[in-house]
Symmetry: C2
Subunit: 307 residues, 2 copies
Amino acid sequence: MSAEARFKGVIAPMLTPFDSDGNPDLKRFCEHAAWLISEGCTGLAPFGTTGEANSLGLDERMSLLDGLVNAGIDAERLLPGTGCCSIPDSVRLTQHAVQSGCGGVLMLPPFYYKAPIASDEGLYRYFADVIERVGDARLKIYLYHIPPMAQVGFSLDLIGRLIDAYPETVVGLKDSSGDWQNTKAIIDRFSGFTVFAGSEVFLLDTLRAGGAGCITATGNVNAREIRRVYDNWQSSEADELQTAITATRMAIQAFPVIPMMKALLALTRSDSAWRNVRPPFLTMDDSAARTLRDELAEAHGMNLELA
Amino acid sequence: MSAEARFKGVIAPMLTPFDSDGNPDLKRFCEHAAWLISEGCTGLAPFGTTGEANSLGLDERMSLLDGLVNAGIDAERLLPGTGCCSIPDSVRLTQHAVQSGCGGVLMLPPFYYKAPIASDEGLYRYFADVIERVGDARLKIYLYHIPPMAQVGFSLDLIGRLIDAYPETVVGLKDSSGDWQNTKAIIDRFSGFTVFAGSEVFLLDTLRAGGAGCITATGNVNAREIRRVYDNWQSSEADELQTAITATRMAIQAFPVIPMMKALLALTRSDSAWRNVRPPFLTMDDSAARTLRDELAEAHGMNLELA
């Protein structure tokens, strides 16, 4: 993927549907991928936090990715999560993604380890080792900075060191810190680096600062409206559009976001299997989902029906 | 394993040696296991935090366990770590351990997820699901409570609920919280539950309170002296012996414990490969290891030479 073709815009970290036995449901997964693209997603990031990636086995992740590609989803638009705690597991998933033609991978740091073990030097060596073992010039890594969950994060110095060492490979970052000053600092410091906000709440700010867009959980249910902000960020209505998607986001994240989005899809599509999550997630109460669905439909015009 | 045969005493969470290519070194691993037993370990817990378990691939973990059993290490003495973030991975490792005849497994909670996702209810369902999918009456689970690393922990209520639901399966816990009051509260509340301190610093207190012993990183280098406390805990010299092993522990944990223990073994056995760690761990500076080795040899009589 050339620098010009790098990811930008609105990327949904895809939800992972499970059947009644708790197994990943490839049919619904592919349907959801196609629907998200029809709703305006410029890319899809399967196996992020929203996709319950760390609740999936390695084989399940690879099999689901194969399924997406076989279903005709353009692999160049796919940015699967491949960062595990161990180098061999991360290498295996990353190699598979590259060989599948994915446009990039989104990599968590080895999140079991906390400071002082997870030092900048240790994390640098971890990523250097993964990159060298994958050994493929097609590899494009987007760093996944999510301290609220991983605890371990990417400092500005570490990001800089990785870019300097692997300028053709370490090409971007998703900032799920929730700290806009951090996102802005990364954009400001690393020219040509592709920075995504981890929430659409920061989409307009990110674009105005020179960032690439957002990779956002709620892209699973509100991609169309988020895309409108992306398409119109230089227009006079940009702030108003941003206010609307921020309001929708806030309404959803008043609940556990992943179970709630699954419950919303289940309701709207009359497909109760969509509610299934893997423990430690808990399924969302149906009545809460009904109330929110009605609120979102009335106030925000949200429509989750399959085309 | 009958209730009488449950683990107790001094268990070393085995270090994992790596060769110069970064691959697990089965020969040194088996040698180390045999040496630890000869030094007085009553059990071995491969693939704990000290064993860099989360830096190993699933296949590597299973292959190393097979190697130990094939090398003649009594599987009943083995308490491998099998807790991953995902149910399928945890089930796979746990089934393999049970089928290998291991006396038990030490299970981390799904550590990627933090509160409120990792609620008591969610964690309960996670463990219930693993237990039911493994579906083997031989399974004996020791819960691995290590909030400094996993963040996610086991509350007293959660422990009680798991014991009530699976009294023949959820039989013990390792408390690496470093909080003696927590260890004591668990021992006091759950009669017949097998509780290990996560550090020998609390060994005598644990035994006096009715606990089973300790599963301790520094058991990799000081098992003989720790065992003396276990064997003599009711004698008049117990406090003095405890003071000595506490002093040794403190001297070691003034450094990064895992790289330092590996460096000590490398020095003592003139085997530099023992120094290897996987990133994000960093190898220990040789001169620091020399200084500590001399200090430990003089002040604490430590001898790490292979028999």
